[in-house]
């Protein structure tokens, strides 16, 4: 049986206290909320820490207004997936939450945790013994990237389903640090680096997220994965569009699992803004959106096929958002 390393478990009562503990302990400690990402990685010895700081104090509430929705970071993905308040413009977020992994993991996994989910790579998300046999990589214990050995950086893939959607909905997170709270747009939460993929301080706790969807917004998330459940995304598209009549007045397209961070397809967003969301425009937008995606050979199926599929998922997501078919979970499983 794979087991956890010996750990201490701290139980702070507030985010401030948790942040102070983290600041004091430094890289020896990590936060744990649902644990669905953390525990497997601890068992595989990808994280080597000696202390866990429990985030059991986090709230799990949701307050939905017409154009803004506040969600506590401790809310489970299952709760978000089934929350009737996440309709209209927020439907894509519920959809993304409902497509994370599998039902029992969604019962444990949290909104905050999914925003912070570690980047993935199939040279890295392996047991200690396997990595020892393969040769350790840049992200843990080694000095080269096994996917791109000549590259100086790590190419692990951002694999969150909800982060791209939160970006498409202009999300803003509240971060609690040892010295107080601050707000940060979700778009600024990530860095294009497989190792240092988060721009927040390690001691900061994500306590809340605020999503924005002005009236007339519709959103959709399309996830590509091999099976209809359990799997991480191998490509995905989160879109939010605001329609003025049949003209797109605002457009956000964010891709999952094609880079080390959720990838904003800004050129495509600009292209579609001001246009009618008809089939031709959607197709062309999808083409443009797919261009910056650079999947590498470190996730399921071949990277050239995944690259090809980026266009397909963007097109599907846009079509669904444009025709207000959001809310029904779409899952492109092989």
């Amino acid at each position: 049986m794979l087991r956890l390393p010996r750990l201490k478990y701290l139980r702070p009562r507030s985010a401030r206290e948790a942040a102070a503990m983290a600041a004091e302990l430094g890289p020896r400690a990590m936060f744990v909320a649902g644990g669905t990402d953390l525990f497997p990685k601890l068992k595989r010895r990808q994280f080597e820490i000696d202390t866990l700081i429990g985030l059991g104090f986090l709230g799990h509430g949701i307050r939905a207004g017409a154009a803004e929705c506040h969600i506590d970071a401790g809310a489970t993905l299952a709760a978000m997936s089934g929350d009737v308040r996440l309709t209209a413009g927020f439907a894509g977020y519920a959809e993304a939450a409902g497509l994370v992994s599998s039902p029992p993991l969604r019962n444990a996994g949290t909104v905050g945790g999914n925003l912070c989910v570690d980047t993935r790579c199939n040279y890295y998300d392996m047991t200690y013994e396997w990595r020892k046999a393969a040769g350790f990589c840049l992200k843990k214990d080694g000095d080269i990237c096994l996917v791109a050995p000549s590259s100086p950086r790590c190419w692990a893939v951002s694999s969150s389903d909800t982060a791209p959607m939160a970006m498409a909905l202009d999300g803003v997170v509240t971060l609690a640090g040892p010295d107080g709270d601050r707000e940060l747009p979700v778009a600024a939460l990530y860095r294009d680096d497989g190792i240092d993929y988060m721009a927040k301080q390690p001691s900061e706790v994500v306590t809340r997220i605020r999503l924005h969807a002005p009236p007339g917004t519709s959103s959709a998330y399309v996830k590509l994965r091999r099976r209809g459940s359990i799997d991480f995304p191998i490509a995905g598209a989160a879109v939010a569009i605001q329609l003025d009549g049949n003209v797109v007045s605002r457009c956000r397209i964010v891709l999952s699992a094609v880079a080390s961070h959720p990838l904003e397809a800004t050129a495509a967003e600009e292209f579609l803004t001001g246009k009618k969301a008809d089939e031709d425009a959607i197709g062309e937008t999808a083409d443009i959106a797919a261009k910056p995606a650079k999947p590498l050979d470190n996730a399921d199926l071949s990277h050239f096929w995944r690259k090809r599929m980026v266009r397909v998922v963007v097109e599907q997501a846009l079509r669904r958002a444009a025709t207000a078919e959001g809310g029904s979970r779409v899952n492109l499983s092989v």
């Binding site: 049986m1 794979l2 444990a108």
Partner: protein, 164 residues
């Protein structure tokens, strides 16, 4: 990996509510609920297939909702109700789901069965007459290599019918 064993084991006295019985145990804090159920409480009906959250075999109910016991620490769920397969029947009377699994041959090797039964129970507790599609969605975190799932779906439908 080096140096781990040199660390002291932090032990906590935790009160666990498992199948309606409250037990106080002195536990290393890093032992998962799966290990505590199987090794410390000898409730070996909870099985395991990967210990990484990838197969669903170790599913138990926490406050009625399916969770993977390999990814939960007892310290995280103190005060919450844990239900394992041992707590599913009412004495020697099988739960309707168990009865339907027996009658329709939904368990072959039986190894994934406890986890699937608990996930199905949670579904029926919240949604008494699910469609076949909803049953599949609810159980989609639980792999089974023997049955091809057909008889499991049949059995959950039969149990739902009988419980209605």
């Amino acid at each position: 990996m080096k140096g781990e064993m040199a660390r002291d084991v932090e032990r906590l006295v935790l009160a666990l509510d498992v199948n309606g019985e409250r037990t106080e145990l002195l536990l290393p804090v890093h032992k998962t609920l799966l290990e505590v159920l199987r090794e410390d409480m000898r409730l070996t009906g909870t099985k395991h297939g990967c210990e990484l959250g990838e197969c669903g075999t170790c599913t138990v109910l926490v406050d009625g909702a399916p969770q993977l016991s390999c990814l939960v620490l007892p310290v995280q769920i103190e005060g919450r109700r844990v239900t394992t397969i041992e707590g599913m029947a009412n004495g020697s009377v099988l739960h309707p789901l168990q009865q339907a699994f027996v009658e329709l041959g939904a368990a072959q090797c039986g190894y994934c069965t406890p986890g699937i039964l608990l996930a199905a129970r949670s579904l029926l507790d919240g949604r008494p007459r699910p469609t076949r599609e909803e049953i599949g969605e609810a159980l989609a975190g639980n792999l089974c290599r023997c049955t091809g799932y057909a008889k499991i779906l049949d059995a959950v439908e039969l149990a739902a019918e009988r419980m209605a």
